[in-house]
Symmetry: C2
C-alpha cells in the first residue's frame, strides 16, 4: 500500500526511489514549526499588510449585476459570455419512482479548475509557496490560497504567456516535478458535479519573489490552521492530498493526544479494517444509493418554497441552508479591479466533526458514507457529523456538547470564497466518551488517519469536508 | 503495485497473504484449457440444449408496449411503475458557451446493477459458475452470463428470499469470500452515467447444480471467447477485473504472439510509462474535457433530426448510430414469461481495436483517453480505435486493412442484450506495421496489458470497450 501511494504520487516505480521517500520529506516539513529562511514572525507582518489592503464587497440587487442576466423561461442566472458558472435548479429523483423530489438552486460550473501548490526545498526542508488572495466571500477578505487557482482557460493560455503568476510550473510539462495530480470533488450540496484538479509540483529553481506570495513549511501551516480563516479551503484540500509518513517519527514535542494523531497518520498504525475492506464497503454504499438528479430550470425551485425577490433567492420558511444573493466587488490585486457576481450565502455555520477513539491503542476516526445531491460519484467518505446550517444529524449532540477535555480541535474555517458569501464551518475533532460502542450503523466505519489519507489519494473517494479535517488534524500535534 | 492490486482484491494486507496469490490462482485457471470435472465436451452439449429452447422476440409499435408510455410534454418513454429505465434526451454543452449541442436519445437507468461471478475450486483449479441466459436483444438469444445479473431491488430482497438464484453468495455478508468488488461504467454513447457493480466471490461450499448453470475454468472461457456471441458482455467485463499474474509462467503452449500477450499481462513486463505517469496523463485529459451534459425531453431530439414514427425513433439522414424500437419477448426461463420493452438498435457493427507493438521487447497496446456523451467521470481509457456504427476515426484504416498476419484477434461479440437489439462489435488486436511511430498524439499512450488490468481495478478508469478486449486478449495465447 505504502509503495503504491508513494509510487503513484512520486511518479516512481517501487524499488527505484532514491533518497528519502516523499512521505518522509513531507513529514520533515510537518515537523518544521518554523523556518530559518522564512520565519513566522516575518510572515505575520507580511500577512497583516496584505489584509490591510482595501477591498470592498457590497450586496446589490440581481438587476444591478453587470453581465449577468436571468434566462427567459428558465429563470437561470447566467453570465452573458456563457462563462464562469450559472445558478440553476436541481431535482433529486428516486430510482424506482418518477416522483419528483424538491428542487433547489445549485451552482453549475462544469469547468475543472486547477488548485496548485508549488514546493521547493530550503535548507533541506520542503516549503510551500502560499498566495495572499482576496476572494469576495471571504470572512477576512484575504486568506492563504494555493500558489495558483486557475481555470482551464487560464491554464491553456499559460503555454503562451499567462496572466496567472507561476502557472507555468503546473502547465508546462517537465518544468517541475509533479508530486500530486488528482481530481477531487467539491461541496455537493452547493455545486453540481464540481471537480477540481489538485496538483503539488516541486521545483529546484529560484522562484522570483513577489509581494503576494510567501513560502511556508507544513509545520508553519499546521500552526496557522489552529487559527480561524487564515488557510483557505483550496489550500486545505490540496494539503490533504500530500502523503505524510510519520512512521517512527517521535520528535520531542510529540506527547498525549497529538502523538496519537501523529501515530494514526503512519502506515505502522494497525487499522481495525483493511483498506480493501473499507473500499469494498464504500462500493457497497455507492451501489445502494439509488437516486439520480436532474438539472431543472431555477424557476422550478419556486414550487419547493424558494422565493425570488429583487436581491435574493431564499426560502422564507427557513427550510433552505442558503440564499442566492448578488454582490459587487472592488479590489486591486485581481485580474480585473471590479466586478459583480451572484454568491451563495449560507444561513449559518456548518458543522464538520470527527469522533475519534482508540482501538487496540491506535486512534481511529469514524467516517460515514455520505451523498450530497450534487455528488458526481454517489457517496464519498465524510466526517462523522456533517451538518449544513440548521441541519441536525446523528452524533451532533455528542460532538457539540462534549466537555473541553475531549475536544482536541475546534476551529472555524472558511469555505470557498469565490462562490460562497461568508460560508464558514466549525471543524472539530472530538474524542468519543468512554464506553462509546465500537459497533456502529452500517453507513459508518472506523479508519486510521493513514487510511483516510490513502483513500483520499485515490481521488473522488473522500469529500471536501473530510479533506479539510484531514488537513487540519496534524495541527493538534 | 502488485501488492496493492492483490491486497485490495483479496481483502488481505500485504505480507499476511497465505498460500499462492490470487493472481497466481487465476493464472492456473487460465492455463486450464479443459476441466476433468466439467469438460468442454459436456459443456457444448449443455449449451446446445439451452440454445434450442424456444424464445420469441418480435418488433412491435410503441403503442403496443405494455406498461410503457410516452410522457406528456417531454415525450420520454417510461414504464408505468417508474422502474427499469427510461428513454430521454441528452444534450452536450460546451463549458464556455451556452450554445446547445445536438440532442440525442439516451437510456437513463440510475439503478446500479450487480454483475456477480461465483468461483469455486475443483481439483485445485478455480472454476466460474456461468449462466445460460436469454436476453431479448442477443444475437443467438442465449449467451453465457455471470452467475447473477441483479438489480438493486433483487439484491435487497435477497436477504429475505430471492427470486435470483445464487444471489445470496453476493448479498449476504460473510457467505462467500469477496475477491473483486468494483463499480465500472457502461456504454456512454447509449447510457447516461450508467454504472454496474462488478463482483467475484469465492465459495468452498457445494453449490447445488441447476440446469441453467455450468462451471468453467478461465482457460475454457478463453477458448469460448474465440467464438462469436457466446460469452456475453456482462461476463466479459467482470472477467476483465480478475487479477492474473503470469510472471514466470511458461507452459508448453506459450509461443509466438500469444506468449507476448501473456508476458504483457505480467508485472515483470517492463512498461514504457510508469503507472503513475499513465494515471497523471488521464487526470490531465479529464481536466481538459470541458463539456457538461443536460438531460432534456426526448422530444427535443427532433430538432437534431431524430424522427419518431409508430415503431421507431431514428435519424432518416443516417446521422445516428442507432434507432429506438419496441419489442415483445416471450420466454420461459425468466422471472416473467412475457414482456415488452423498448430496445436500442444500432445501425451496424461497432469497431473496437487495439494496435499493439513491442517496445524494448515488451508488448504494449495503444490506449486513448476517450469521452462519450454519457460518461460519468469524463474520459476513460479506451481502445486505439473505438467507432460506433458508421463512424470513422484515426487508425481505423490501419486496423481494418491490416494483413491477416498482423491480426491476432478478430471476433464479433455482443453488447448488452437487455437494452440493445442485436448490438455487436468487431473486436480486434492488430500488430502495428514495422516503422509505426512510437510517438503518438497526446490523447494516446502505450501501456502493457498488466498496466491496463491494474488501472481497470481502480474502477471507472477503463471503459467497457477496452475491458472487453482485455478479457478477450488472453484467448490469443
Amino acid at each position: 500500500m505504502e509503495e503504491l501511494s508513494h509510487a503513484l504520487l512520486a511518479g516512481r516505480s517501487p524499488g527505484d526511489a532514491p533518497g528519502p521517500s516523499l512521505g518522509r520529506r513531507f513529514m520533515l516539513s510537518l515537523a518544521a514549526e518554523d523556518s530559518p529562511h522564512f520565519p513566522l514572525s516575518g510572515f505575520h507582518t507580511w500577512y497583516a499588510e496584505r489584509c490591510a489592503r482595501r477591498f470592498k464587497v457590497s450586496r446589490i440587487p440581481f438587476d444591478a449585476l453587470e453581465q449577468w442576466y436571468s434566462e427567459p423561461g428558465s429563470g437561470n442566472l447566467r453570465h452573458r459570455t456563457g462563462r464562469f458558472f450559472s445558478i440553476e435548479g436541481l431535482r433529486a429523483e428516486d430510482g424506482d419512482r418518477v416522483t419528483a423530489g424538491d428542487a433547489r438552486p445549485i451552482i453549475v460550473q462544469p469547468e475543472i479548475g486547477t488548485l496548485g501548490l508549488l514546493v521547493r526545498e530550503f535548507g533541506g526542508v520542503l516549503h510551500f509557496l502560499m498566495q495572499a488572495k482576496m476572494e469576495p466571500g471571504n470572512i477576512n477578505t484575504v486568506q492563504l490560497s494555493p500558489t495558483v487557482q486557475a481555470t482551464r482557460s487560464n491554464y491553456t493560455r499559460a503555454h503562451g504567456g499567462s496572466v496567472v503568476r507561476h502557472l507555468e510550473y503546473f502547465a508546462r510539462p517537465g518544468r517541475a516535478d509533479v508530486l500530486v495530480d488528482l481530481l477531487q470533488s467539491e461541496h455537493g450540496s452547493y455545486f453540481l458535479h464540481k471537480r477540481n484538479r489538485h496538483m503539488v509540483v516541486e521545483t529546484t529553481e529560484d522562484v522570483p519573489p513577489h509581494g503576494d506570495f510567501h513560502w511556508l513549511t507544513l509545520g508553519q501551516l499546521r500552526l496557522l490552521m489552529r487559527r480561524e480563516h487564515v488557510v483557505n479551503m483550496d489550500s486545505r484540500t490540496v494539503l490533504s492530498c500530500v502523503p505524510i509518513d510519520s512512521a517512527g517519527f517521535a520528535p520531542a514535542g510529540a506527547a498525549g493526544f497529538g502523538a496519537a494523531v501523529l501515530h494514526s497518520l503512519s502506515p505502522a498504525a494497525r487499522p481495525r479494517h483493511t483498506l480493501a475492506e473499507l473500499t469494498r464497503w464504500l462500493t457497497d454504499m455507492r451501489a445502494g444509493a439509488p437516486g439520480s438528479v436532474r438539472r431543472v430550470p431555477l424557476r422550478d425551485t419556486e414550487r419547493a418554497g424558494w422565493v425570488r425577490t429583487a436581491d435574493a433567492i431564499a426560502r422564507p420558511d427557513g427550510g433552505g441552508a442558503f440564499a442566492v444573493i448578488g454582490a459587487r466587488v472592488e479590489a486591486d490585486n485581481r485580474e480585473v479591479t471590479s466586478w459583480s457576481q451572484p454568491l451563495l450565502e449560507p444561513t449559518g455555520t456548518a458543522v464538520h466533526a470527527f469522533l475519534a477513539t482508540r482501538l487496540d491503542g491506535v486512534l481511529h476516526v469514524l467516517v460515514q458514507a455520505y451523498e450530497e445531491a450534487g455528488s458526481l460519484n454517489g457517496p464519498e467518505l465524510a466526517p462523522t457529523v456533517q451538518c449544513l446550517p440548521g441541519e441536525r444529524s446523528r452524533y451532533l449532540d455528542e460532538v457539540v456538547s462534549a466537555p473541553a477535555s475531549r475536544v482536541h480541535y475546534d476551529v472555524l474555517q472558511s469555505e470557498e470564497g469565490g462562490r460562497f458569501h461568508r460560508a464558514e464551518s466549525r471543524n472539530l475533532l472530538v474524542e468519543a466518551p468512554e464506553g462509546f460502542p465500537v459497533e456502529q450503523p452500517p453507513e459508518y466505519r472506523w479508519a486510521t488517519l493513514d487510511q483516510l489519507a490513502r483513500i483520499t489519494r485515490f481521488g473522488h473517494h473522500v469529500n471536501i469536508q473530510a479533506r479539510t479535517l484531514l488537513a487540519c488534524l496534524p495541527s493538534t500535534w
